[in-house]
């Protein structure tokens, strides 16, 4: 793995669900030995954050456009617990490939 991977986390207000998801992403990245730089934003700010932050991967708990040019994951399984293991492995795989 070469260097730090940038992960953008988006939710409605950028404070609540995004923070819960951000903590989970940091945790799974650490377990997988991937260095990450995690930044949170509001769903409405995703496009502008892409130009300034240039994330490798996006995880969102609200709908965001799918045509952003990088893998976009629905982060809700981190909140509901359903499908969480699958999501974890998908995110880690995307981070390895980024």
């Amino acid at each position: 793995m070469n260097g730090e991977k940038r992960v953008l986390i988006a939710c409605g207000t950028s404070i609540a669900t995004a923070t819960v998801v951000a903590e989970k992403v940091k945790e799974i990245a650490k377990e997988a030995g991937v260095k990450v730089n995690v930044v949170q934003c509001k769903a409405a700010e995703v496009r502008s954050k892409i130009s300034t932050f240039n994330p490798h991967v996006i995880v969102a708990t609200t709908p965001v456009p799918k045509d952003l040019g990088m893998p976009v994951f629905n982060g809700v399984p981190f909140l509901s617990g359903v499908g969480m293991d699958k999501l974890k492995s998908q995110i880690i795989e995307a981070l390895h490939q980024a």
Partner: protein, 146 residues
């Protein structure tokens, strides 16, 4: 409690919060509007849960109003509003500080993911029993109304 729609469930719980002096009269409409834009239905393993809430400006004092629906009603799924989740447990969150919302959410998520807890809540015999389950799982001090 019986309810026909997500909006009605939010209105019922909001009325309880308002009667208790926890939220302003504007809370219900604001929470219903927010639910349309940012749906809060969570398809958990056992019992569908929704956590309607809205901006701090509509809140006077922090509280959670908990409603167990007699029949499941459909809420939009968080992050995926074209999907719906059959919800039986509605936790209306009156949050006066965004920092509190974060802590509350982390603890609620833990609680919802603990096997058996959601089933226990929806089959509880009394509101007091439900309040006790929440108290056992949330470390925060807040008023709980059912």
């Amino acid at each position: 409690m019986p309810a026909e729609s997500a909006a009605e469930a939010i209105a019922q719980l909001g009325a309880r919060l308002q009667a208790g002096g926890f939220v302003k009269p504007s809370w219900v409409q604001a929470a219903i509007e927010r639910e349309k834009i940012f749906a809060t239905g969570l398809p958990t393993a056992e019992v569908g849960v929704a956590i309607p809430h809205t901006d701090v400006e509509h809140v006077l004092q922090q509280a959670i109003a908990v409603g167990v629906l007699t029949e499941p009603i459909l809420f939009g799924e968080m992050g995926n509003p074209e999907n719906t989740v059959p919800v039986r447990l509605v936790c209306a969150l009156a949050v006066a500080q965004s920092q509190f919302l974060l802590k509350l959410l982390q603890q609620l998520v833990q609680m919802f993911q603990t096997p058996g807890v959601l089933s226990q809540i929806v089959s509880a015999a009394s509101p007091a029993q439900i309040a006790r389950i929440f108290e056992d799982h949330l470390e925060l001090t807040e008023d709980i109304t059912t």
